[in-house]
Amino acid sequence: MSEFNQENLNSLKKLARIKIPADEESEILSHMEKIVGYVNLLSEVDTDNVQIATHVSQNLNVLREDNIGELLPKETFLANAPDQIGGMIRTPPVLKEPE
């Protein structure tokens, strides 16, 4: 376990695809430093030979018949789309216009 710094934050912003306005950044950084510092507490627990808890539920592998169920009509789904064209979702171009 280690400390958290500005470099970590810069890389996380790219990984999580979140821009942070300049006025929020110092508070977020300071909170994350504190939180990461706090969760380092776990390093004192001996977990050799302990399995990871992949689930808490006692019922595993609940299976069902592979039938077609209710489907969401396309129009209903598209009603929430920010932009659409011809029954498809529209986005700005993948490539930026040359400046």
């Binding site: 996380l12 999580a16 977020i28 808890a53 609940v62 216009e97």
Partner: protein, 483 residues
Amino acid sequence: MHLLSAFELRKRFENGELKAREIAEHFLARIDKHSKNLGSFLHVLDERALKKADELDLRKSKGEKLGLLAGIPIAIKDNMHIKGEITTCGSKFLTNYRAPFDASVCKFLEDQDAILIGKTNLDEFAMGSSNENSAFFPAKNPWNTECVPGGSSGGSAAAVSARLAPLATGSDTGGSIRQPASFCGIVGYKPTYGRVSRYGLVAFGSSLDQIGPFATCVEDIALIMEAIARPCAHDSTSISHPPESFLENLPTDLKGKRIGVPWKFLEEMDAKALEAFKANIEQLKALGAEIVDVDLSILKYSIAIYYILATAEASTNLARFDGIRYGVRSPNAKALEDIYDFSRDEGFGKEVKKRILLGTHVLSSGYKDAYYKKAQKVRTLIIERYNSIFKECDLISMPVSPFAAFKFGAITDPIQMYLQDIFTVSANLAGLPAISVPAGFDHNKMPVGLQFLAPQMKDKTVIDAAHAFEKSAKIPTMPEAFA
């Protein structure tokens, strides 16, 4: 009429003393009168509620058989879908999102003839312990509107406490039902993980999230649980257990029950709060329970585990909010990549961003073993500790929160805020049923709750214990200003 329990309202509707329309209009008028001040509702479903009420009156006049919750207005936390209505999750990102399907819990409620009356305020994406993270406005505590109602289901708790609805739903990922119930002086119940379907609940921490109810008394919790605790084909973690009668034989004593209390773990609590808790435990003894000292010192790690696992799960769950398919897309995006970056910046509040970044950190290459996997291992140790205690005890009792409701803005340190959940998160980590029941008031006359936990699927045991305690404690649950 608003002083009646849900159970009593249904009875009066059934025997013809009250019409569903009268009930719906009465509660809508109360919402109209108080909700602006309390901030408890984000949307009021007046048309829908009145339509359902009229339909119920008509069906009743024809002598048709009506459902378990006939005529009872119920408020829904605004992270659960009602088909055709807006679900904001307390976020600017979803201000325009109209749910294309019903959450199973809302469907079950309507199938049992409940009247869905409105969508309640919450911390954005259910991330918070005070409701101060709602993107719109904070809900306030009906006992003192300068204080927070707790979070994240603060709007639901405030609405039920002020009698703007006799029942409400909440979701509990680390205490988000029990802590606001305790702060607002009502009953809040987190069922066993998987007991109530999560289908149509906007996911936060999927291995921890659980939907449950708020009510003014334990009997009403038992009533609504009969409607919502049922298997659901749309949720693969739903437990395939047939509906159970929670109302049957609600006891008034605790004879023969062994209740574990983690005394050592509670030592660091505020002295006055600890005294009050001790008095509650004396009352359990007087009801016939045998109190056993249990070791839960491992819970000192529960907040650290929680803030690794819950944020890890949140960072993946919230990846779907990309501004492409639904939600608010940034108007400033000129290229595809801008949509993600700008929409997530403009749509999410600070706490949500912080948790997504933290979750991304604990899952990222080089850190995953040290944080995510380590936390999952300590989670195993907590589950094992509970299993071992429950070999000797029927129940565990502890406080809900270290303090009663605090004033807006009083807690700015993130760790202090997170530590609010120290007594509640472990039930989520282990998937246990847990209830908060009114237990008294602190020196500022703010309500305080008592918590009961039991093994998975022993939901009835928890509800029974809370009922026995409630009947003997007789704690007032009505804030004077809203009587």
